[in-house]
Symmetry: D3
Subunit: 236 residues, 6 copies
């Protein structure tokens, strides 16, 4: 099967990093293909960026040929996830919903660590929109450096571990979701620093997309995710 790893932002190195992670999480027989939202913003750091990302994401994903067997939206955000599911006939999974769905059977309550304090409200809305508020103990944040500036690994790991501990004490979460693809590389080292289960969302999404493709199941095309009622061209 062929999975498209769609980076909603325009930053190619993020796509490349995501493809590596996805490749490591995918089954050997799965072909992993990266895709960059070249007309999108460099980073989805606000609702403003989210809606700037959505339109070219939709147009771009519809144009991919040959059509992949499944699509993973490789960012911890929205940018029109529901619209992509309407537009495509193959399974579409956003990495945030995959991580939360997979967390459900694993814990009492999960916490999400996002990449900037500014994104906490945005992420809480995401949790609600995807229907997982019941088990979300809270959203917290570390502070990633600006794009292009490498995070000092040691300092960021300590910051992550501190947040994990704070979340454990304050909100009794017992599982952590890393809320942003730029945090994904820190999953493995963070697991060594903490006894908590840490979910890396891209891996969750790759597995869930593979599952759906294998089972021949797609988002409900006769209900919420029915195709838009007009011909696609008419929306542009």
């Amino acid at each position: 099967m062929r999975l498209l790893i769609a980076n909603p932002n325009a930053t190619a190195p993020v796509t490349a990093a995501c493809v590596l992670l996805a490749r490591a999480a995918a089954s050997p027989s799965t072909e992993v293909v990266g895709w960059t939202n070249q007309q999108g913003p460099p980073l989805v750091d606000s609702w403003y960026a989210d809606y700037f990302a959505g339109r070219p994401l939709l147009r771009g994903l519809r144009a991919v040929v040959p059509s992949p067997d499944g699509v993973v939206l490789a960012g911890f955000g929205n940018y029109g996830t529901a619209a992509v599911k309407e537009a495509l006939d193959v399974p579409v999974i956003a990495m945030a919903e995959a991580a939360m769905a997979m967390a459900m059977p694993l814990c009492h309550r999960f916490a999400i660590i996002t990449t900037a304090p500014r994104m906490i409200a945005y992420t809480e809305e995401l949790v609600s929109a995807f229907g997982f508020r019941e088990r979300c103990a809270g959203v917290t944040a570390v502070t990633m450096p600006p794009l292009g500036v490498a995070a000092r690994e040691d300092a960021l790991l300590i910051e992550l571990a501190t947040e994990v501990e704070r979340v454990r004490v304050l909100s009794r979460a017992d599982l952590i979701i890393l809320g942003g693809s730029r945090l994904s590389p820190f999953a493995e080292p963070l697991r060594k620093l903490t006894s908590f289960t840490v979910l890396e969302p891209l891996a969750c999404a790759v597995q869930m997309a593979e599952s759906l493709v294998r089972l021949g199941i797609v988002q409900t095309k006769t209900g919420k995710y029915a195709p838009p009622p007009q011909p696609f061209e008419s929306y542009e």
Copy 2:
């Protein structure tokens, strides 16, 4: 004061109709200006259309000169409402949230009648996203004709009145919100057919925008609606 009535879709006659309604609802001293999202879709009839509308809406509203004193988003949808609030420093009100906010002190529970069965799930998500689920008895729909085809007024009125009655019996709603600017012209005749309070959202939004401008209050710019962290140009 100068209020911009921003039509999220590209259909100019809808803008014109909205301006008429807004003009009738506004205070005499308020200047009402229409704006059409010319790169947007003809109609917001899906999540797909919603995200197609968002990007040109954001870019367009930022470019309006002179800047208005307040902005009313004249459609019963989302298309990046939060993003517009981040981008602008003046009060921004979507007509759906204005209607629901105004309904709260007026009823036990409200129901929303939207323009197509396909938009029920979309509208339920909107109710949740804007935080009004607690008092929403449900969302129902009539079936509007395609754009450009005039609705047969009599038939549509009967359909609306039937839905109002169904909603009263089944969900014990005691207030109706018309969920779409194309339904707004039917508010007045519908009120004659039913003893229910019927809210026409555009009027609610104009009033609420005027209130915010008068009180000098704007969406919280140090919290959820802080400006995007990067210069605006960098998102394009």
Copy 3:
């Protein structure tokens, strides 16, 4: 239009202060009239006081001649808000519900600062009863001096600013509602001390009452707020 600013307690200086605030918030053409609940308690500081206020409030407001065009309940409480809406045929708005309704489009979550720790549970019930729990991050309190003792302005402002900061850190609220008419005069100086949006509820209620009067909309008289089933005299 003529708005009645109904003070639910018997303390005339509070009425006078409220009229000044309402006057400042109202449109120039609006006539603002104060009304004091002379058989009510000096202050609504408990559920006990709330129910002592309700009966004379109802009898008194029904007797006002000429009938005003709208009524603002100028206290951050309940004292039979629903009963007043049943009894009158003109729009009735309690200042708490107006502030919360107006906060909805402006923030991620609001916090309320009330006038005494004893009123926190009371106010949380109010938030629930008015249907706004979804977006309320919490209720907190300062400690107002007893009636008749002037608050030391500096000390109270510092106390308010401290609560604002505490609320920001602990509950991630990004908008503050001042929960009591005695706190209303501090809205303006508080705004100078904090970057938060601060809502003064009386101004919100005046604006919302004006809106309803202009639009000719009243609480639903065929549903929840139908007139009591017996002649008014029979209840006494």
Copy 4:
């Protein structure tokens, strides 16, 4: 022990009927005393009547000598239940909260049948205010004749049985609470018509009041139900 059965309305025959029911439900050693809210309304049939009942209820109950060991509020409503709990140092139980508390261990979901369609919204607010929304499948109504007109027993029983059946099918409730003291006499005959568990709230309240008196437990007087902060006289 001495229990006061406080009828919130002014209709003495209702008090007498309640005393009979309470007497039948109480332990042999319990003294049951009736009390009528003589300045209250003839019937609590609206929020308006509720607040008219509250003030004389509070003043009257405080004046009862000798003080009873526990107080049962013998109406399916609010009329300042929280205020009575603030004012008195003995256990106070409203019959609605007693019935709902007792229903919790007995069923999957309960339904309430109230005495008039007009009281459905009122009763739903009561369920929320008392904290039992989680397990309430819904509120429905029969139509009682006006006060003074005897209900035709046969017809009312059939109406009750019909509602029970409707509730079973539509909302999957598996326990019925009779929501009004005028319905209490129908509990026994209704049980013969249906296999459902039917709770008569006054009996529940008498039992719960006895339990609290025996255990020496009272509503929390250092928290929500602390005495009002001023001397009682000062509220009048």
Copy 5:
């Protein structure tokens, strides 16, 4: 009447202590009989222990002759409470649900102190399963010594008092439920250390069971708690 105090675990001294507490809480004419789940685990300290307790509890309680008039499950847990209610035709009350039901009319929000940090998640699930989440401010824990090791009374009391204070400040609870029969003996001394209302669940359950027996009410046998569909023997 004859009440069975069923200890879900196999530790006879716990049964004995429960019988003493129940005897003190019961009416003089009530016969209190202890029962130990001899094939159960020594202590219910996990979900694992919970399900180990359930099967012999069910088989054992069905075999008790003569059948008691009511059954109190004397542990702060689940171990098949719903299954016992299905199996028996007499009222069955778990002490956790009795305490929570009785707390509802007494407070704004209750907190539960359980016997081990490990049991917090378990107890939060219990609160949800029994339908009382609305008013539960949170669950916290002290650390009981292992079975057979006597708790140092002074130290445990101080630990309990500290938790009560922490809960008051952090979660605004105003009533405490002791969440485990091993904590029950500390209710009385704890009440001397704090002004809070402290509920001892076994006493609540005894009172509620007596109430149900007196009123002739049993868990709904035509709904959720209908007998299992097959003959009892066929399940073994």
Copy 6:
């Protein structure tokens, strides 16, 4: 990898049918092994049966050698799912939670069709306990014949299709979960009768278990699913 398909009841033909379904859903390299709870009840048709199933299930699964890489609980129920997760160090997935987790990204709201009206309340509790109430539109039922009596395929299919249609109209669900392993064989023919997405839970659970094994993720063993605090033998 080796997956254990654990049938919580004692009926070997059900195990065999589940193994076939699991084998069809599993990856080619996965070894699928069936396991029957021989001391369990013939069918889990009540809470009573649920707790009868739990104890031998726990003891039996701990004793399986060699230990599998993951365990699928092949029934649409609870029977100590949390306890199994405590007891084992490998991923454990109940088929109900897998189906609901997988449904989340696929639909607006899902409905569950269970095997008997008696199981509706049980299943609704299951939805709550697993944390998926937010998106569950409701639970409904068909009527399966007793164990050992073959379902008449045509009649059952028609009954299923009728329920699907009813659920679509009444609750606006847009995805169906078959709530019971005896219904699993009907998934495929049902899909031919309806345009709805139909989830067969066993396939979902097999896929999710494979995902967890591949990613090396297990239920949180330092939080909710920590091992029981005492040696396993001590619970018996």
